[in-house]
Amino acid sequence: MSMTDGPTPLQTAAAEQAAEEREASSKAAGKSDLAQRGRRKPGYFSDRWHALSRQQQWAFLIIVVVLAYLLPLMNPPIITTEPGNNFALACFDMARFALIAVGLNVVVGYAGLLDLGYVAFFAVGSYCAAMLTSPDSPFLHIPYLWTIPIAMAVTMFFGVVLGVPTLRLRGDYLAIVTLGFGEIVRILATIIPAMKGQVGFQNVGHPPGTEADGTPIFSNSNGVPWYWLTLTIIIIVTLLVGNLERSRVGRAWIAIREDEDAAEIMGVPTFKYKVWAFAIGAAIGGLSGALFAGQVGFVNNQKFDVTTSILFLAAVVLGGAGNKVGAILGGALVSYIPLRFTAIAEYKYLIFGIALVLIMIFRSQGLLPARQRLLAYGRTALNKVTSREGTEPKDTDNPSAGPGTRAAGQRGAEA
């Protein structure tokens, strides 16, 4: 259990530790002290959130979800991306990025594995959907909805094939191997004749159902049903991932992220759980790829540039690696900013490249830092501790004071 209440993955453990020592004397003053210093400590919003009662949280969540569903219909004036881009399609794009970020967050945020070829899984998912539904492909044709689980299974398989050789080694190799994989998938789509290169696959299938006048509900030009479908999938996936996060698997991931050697010694089968994280992340990537293929209706080799992976990574890092709400927010933002401000769309790779460096140097925990508490029995434990806050504020005020911090600091020193 002690492994789960470590610091955020990207936190600069040593700096925190130094700050902690400096503040050691003033710690007794507790929260007000930090507030006086005019510094919002990491996790400010999440603290506010956890201070609410269960009912308040649900009420708030339901409002947010309803608003999210209504977003493309409301088309709010300042937020809207029109006239540059159709707002409903922009909403779908944001939802797609958010789903991708949720998937990548499992790999980068929870397990601390740097996957730079995430776009490849997205591509594999898209090609699965396209090749099994498009009339251009010589393969067996099946209904579109069946391609979604198939795409997930195939990408999961690719994830395992790629993960098994690399995950036994140190994390850095995974980064470059996935980067290479991202490039290779695009090249293979170009040079293998059966993948049809730039010609691609037209008329990719879509979910069944037609309007009264016979046009399909899920048409390429109408983003609203696609957005609702994707949003529903995001909610389901987030709930499932949240359950995993609070389970033995999630605790193992966080232990691996904080200190792989320590986790191994404590009896966590690190290799197994790393492959799990990688495969689950890949499957979510494939899922979003299949959705994308269905919405756009056309898949060719031009859509899966490896540079797109960097946008995905920027989404996770910007939102806060290890925080699923942060990932959704980050994904939506990374997609939204170029669509809303079309003048800067051309510079988006540059902007997000610089953003990655700056976030890492100045605020490595992102917009919404990862939860730093006991995840499994967090609520009860937290309440018990906070009720005694006046007497012993140390544990709640400085979550980074867990044993994980020291270990992470040492690991950093070795690097």
Binding site: A13, G112, P165, G171, A175, I176, E183, I187, G353, M360
Partner: protein
């Protein structure tokens, strides 16, 4: 159900075809060409290997250090009057011009590497940041440089320059070896041997090995760690600049904003193949990868297969012998 399953196995021409006769026919020319590419990979791979040896960091932005060198070569030579046609200069003038381009490219790459270290990595090192933070910063820096070049020069490759007309020197097994291949291979090998001597004999080289082996002990023994790290980055930059000249010589149309990225992955694969952190391993890995990639390309009939073959080699090496052919340690290389 069964008849519809048949198309699941399209004709074999749709997938991958092996052209063995073509490989047999072109075996020796593929070998010499492969060695030429391999020499270029090896020079870039050294930059990865040295930084990895000292900092345990995959410097993703090294590919951009290299492409900056390529642009330096391009601008130097085009301002000296080189163009797509063979220059009308005598041999000594060409050599002088190329040497000037070499020096400027090395300086440009070294300055890039230096700035990269100071701006992106040093703040993280001072805070003792976790490894993941370093990796994300490196990839962010790489994309920043890449897209700065993209915004400046646009997506299309620069005009191809011809430095000199490759003249046949001698032939082996009926295959002509030309002056271009010879120049690249010999110059690269000389540089590689020089670096190997430098790392194993000089005072700075001893410092690099000491920091690679144990940074804390090295510091206690009076090695200036910061200076060693910056020196390592600069050496990597200098070699990448040299590789840039040979790259532009070999692939004149390859000066493009994304040109470094693909070559970087191959160079990194070469470093891992030979044993990352090992100077001689980088040479061996580079030459081997050049050969394997070139054979694969001819066997499979499309130049883009080179990248795929390099990647498959990387995965296989990681699977079968992750420490590479010669082992991984820079610190433990022979004194």
């Amino acid at each position: 159900m069964l008849p519809s399953l048949v198309p699941l196995l399209p004709t074999e021409n749709d997938w991958i075809t092996f052209d063995i006769p073509s490989l047999a026919q072109n075996f020796w020319s593929a070998t010499f060409d492969g060695l030429t590419f391999g020499a270029i990979y090896a020079l870039v791979a050294l930059g990865y290997t040295l930084v990895y040896g000292v900092l345990n960091l995959i410097n993703f932005a090294h590919s951009e250090v290299f492409i900056v060198g390529c642009y330096a070569v391009f601008f130097t030579l085009s301002s000296l009057g080189f163009g797509p046609s063979v220059p009308r200069l005598d041999i000594w003038a060409i050599i002088l011009n190329l040497l000037l381009a070499l020096v400027l490219a090395m300086v440009a790459s070294a300055v890039t590497a230096f700035l990269l270290e100071r701006i992106a990595y040093k703040p993280l090192r001072q805070r003792n940041a976790p490894r993941l933070v370093f990796l994300i910063t490196a990839i962010g820096a790489s994309f920043t440089i890449q897209y700065l070049i993209y915004l400046w020069r646009g997506p299309s490759p620069e005009l191809a320059l011809t430095m000199f007309r490759p003249t046949p020197i001698f032939d082996v097994f009926g295959t002509i070896v030309d002056s271009q291949q010879l120049v690249i291979i010999i110059a690269a090998v000389i540089m590689m041997v020089g670096i190997d001597r430098f790392i194993s004999k000089s005072r700075t080289g001893r410092g690099i090995r000491a920091v690679a082996q144990d940074p804390d002990t090295a510091t206690l023994m009076g090695v200036n760690k910061e200076r060693i790290i910056i020196t390592t980055f600069i050496i990597g930059g200098l070699l990448a600049g040299a590789a840039a000249l040979f790259y532009v010589m070999k692939i004149p149309s390859g000066v493009q904003y994304s040109g470094g990225f693909v070559l970087g992955i191959k160079a990194f694969a070469a470093a891992v193949l030979g044993g990352i952190g090992n100077v001689r391993g980088a040479l061996l890995g580079g030459l081997l990868l050049g050969l394997i990639g070139n054979y694969g390309q001819i066997l499979l009939g499309n130049s883009q297969w080179t990248d795929v073959v390099a990647f498959v080699v990387l995965v296989l090496v990681l699977l079968l012998r992750p420490e590479g052919i010669l082992g991984t340690s820079l610190g433990r290389s022979k004194a």
